[in-house]
Symmetry: C2
DNA sequence: CGCAATATTGAAAACGATCAAGGGTCGTGG
DNA sequence: CCACGACCCTTGATCGTTTTCAATATTGCG
């Protein structure tokens, strides 16, 4: 479905790179020493439940998608992972999810201590993993609500607003309300349970309605306030804990 | 939405009761000593993110539902919890979920060690919580796929087959393939993202099609094999890890 | 420059929601 | 014992949304 583009490359991750994480995350995650940094190109598979042994992966920069294929040939996106997110746990194996890079991505890789009873693990490390899993569950719970009980406009609006909120204030240009977004319309459709064609129509309606524009990999909120009202998006769902 | 029927009652949970858990679960969960047993009547609220302080709750017997209300007035069911499931974590607070009893229910309650950095916690306890969260994520991931990429028949078929698989072999009568199910059609609709009316029609179609019957709180598989094929249900998704 | 992936639009059809009305069951109180 | 209300189930008719199919741009990239 997504064409991989070569083998995984291992690189050095400089301190500067790690500090691309927000201050809070950096303080917390920097406890995770001994990880192996790796980078992936867009389209590459980072983790595949079928081939790979469980390990812990933290996304340092870039976008990744965790999805699964169904027997009927369709795909469902379980979540889009952003910098700071833990993108792999043994649960992905249970859930049969595959993680792929959507942009150039840097991850830190750790051995999966949760499978080895013998490993002595610091409570602090356990706490970090637990926290990440709780946040993931909160995101999944929100996605469930999105797909299950909202119409097409609300679903796509919610998804893009969620991503904007999780990314934090944009640093693209001054006075620009939006973000760089490597998703295709097919990705969005697979995330909100709609066909690609319909995502296209919904995005057009939003554009002509002066709500938001998504072209050439850039999402711009033309009127974020009105969009939030229209899809009734509650920002406090995602702040401050979930970001 | 569901009328509570009185205050929560605290009772003794005999060893016999705890052993209602499957052997594996019992062996594992019996490490959890010091919990407080409680029982709830159908319709009672077990945990409400708005009122309650985080704590860990394990379902010993009965059915519970974890759901959330959306600003647009609709409800989404995040999961149905069965015996052995951990039904409350701090993530429910993030995700704004409420847990209610669907039948008479017994739970074991523990303080939430994950919020208190000071608490010395055994790695074993951490492991149990982690395992439960992984299983919950796997279930949520499956529910996401169900709602997002399947039609009405497949969704309801999958849900009922999943519940049957998680419950294990029925002990109702010999040669009976089915289970006692305290869900209403509205519960099912809120779990799979369909209207109550449509759930009703789908169940009728399944009944007249000789696939399954759900009447008076009893789900009976009239032809489980054909149903599984029709909705292409892959049992290995749920066995053996997830049960 | 050319190919492959992605985006765009229209028309027709399928699917599920909604509205409306009625039926069954259970528990409670007169 | 029956009447009543609450809750849940059931069915028909209609409406609206979203899917599907098909054809045509457009974009990105080697």
């Amino acid at each position: 479905m997504v064409c991989g583009s070569g083998a995984c490359m291992t690189t050095q991750v400089s301190i500067g790179r790690l500090q691309a994480l927000s201050p809070d995350l950096y303080r917390q995650k920097s406890d995770l020493t001994g990880g192996i940094p790796r980078t992936y190109a867009p389209g590459e598979t980072i983790y595949d439940y079928e081939d790979d042994t469980p390990r812990l992966l933290f996304l340092v920069s870039g976008w990744a998608v965790s999805s699964k294929m169904l027997p009927n040939g369709t795909r469902i996106v379980v979540e889009f992972a952003l910098r700071g997110d833990m993108i792999s746990t043994p649960s992905l194996e249970l859930a049969r999810e595959t993680v792929q890079a959507l942009s150039r991505v840097t991850v830190m890789e750790f051995p999966d201590f949760t499978s080895h009873a013998s490993l002595e693990v610091s409570p602090r490390l356990y706490r970090i993993v637990l926290t990440e899993m709780m946040r993931r569950q909160a995101r999944m719970s929100e996605r469930l609500a999105n797909i299950g009980r909202r119409d097409a406009l609300e679903r796509t609006g919610h998804l893009l607003l969620e991503l904007a909120t999780r990314l934090g204030p944009s640093r693209l240009k001054p006075n620009f309300d939006g973000f760089e977004c490597p998703l295709t319309q097919a990705d969005i459709g697979d995330a909100v349970g709609l066909s690609t064609v319909h995502i296209n129509r919904v995005l057009r309606d939003m554009r002509v309605g002066g709500l938001l524009s998504f072209r050439n990999g850039i999402v711009e909120f033309l009127d974020r306030h009105r969009l939030m009202e229209l899809v009734d998006f509650d920002e406090t769902y995602f702040t401050p804990h979930m970001i």
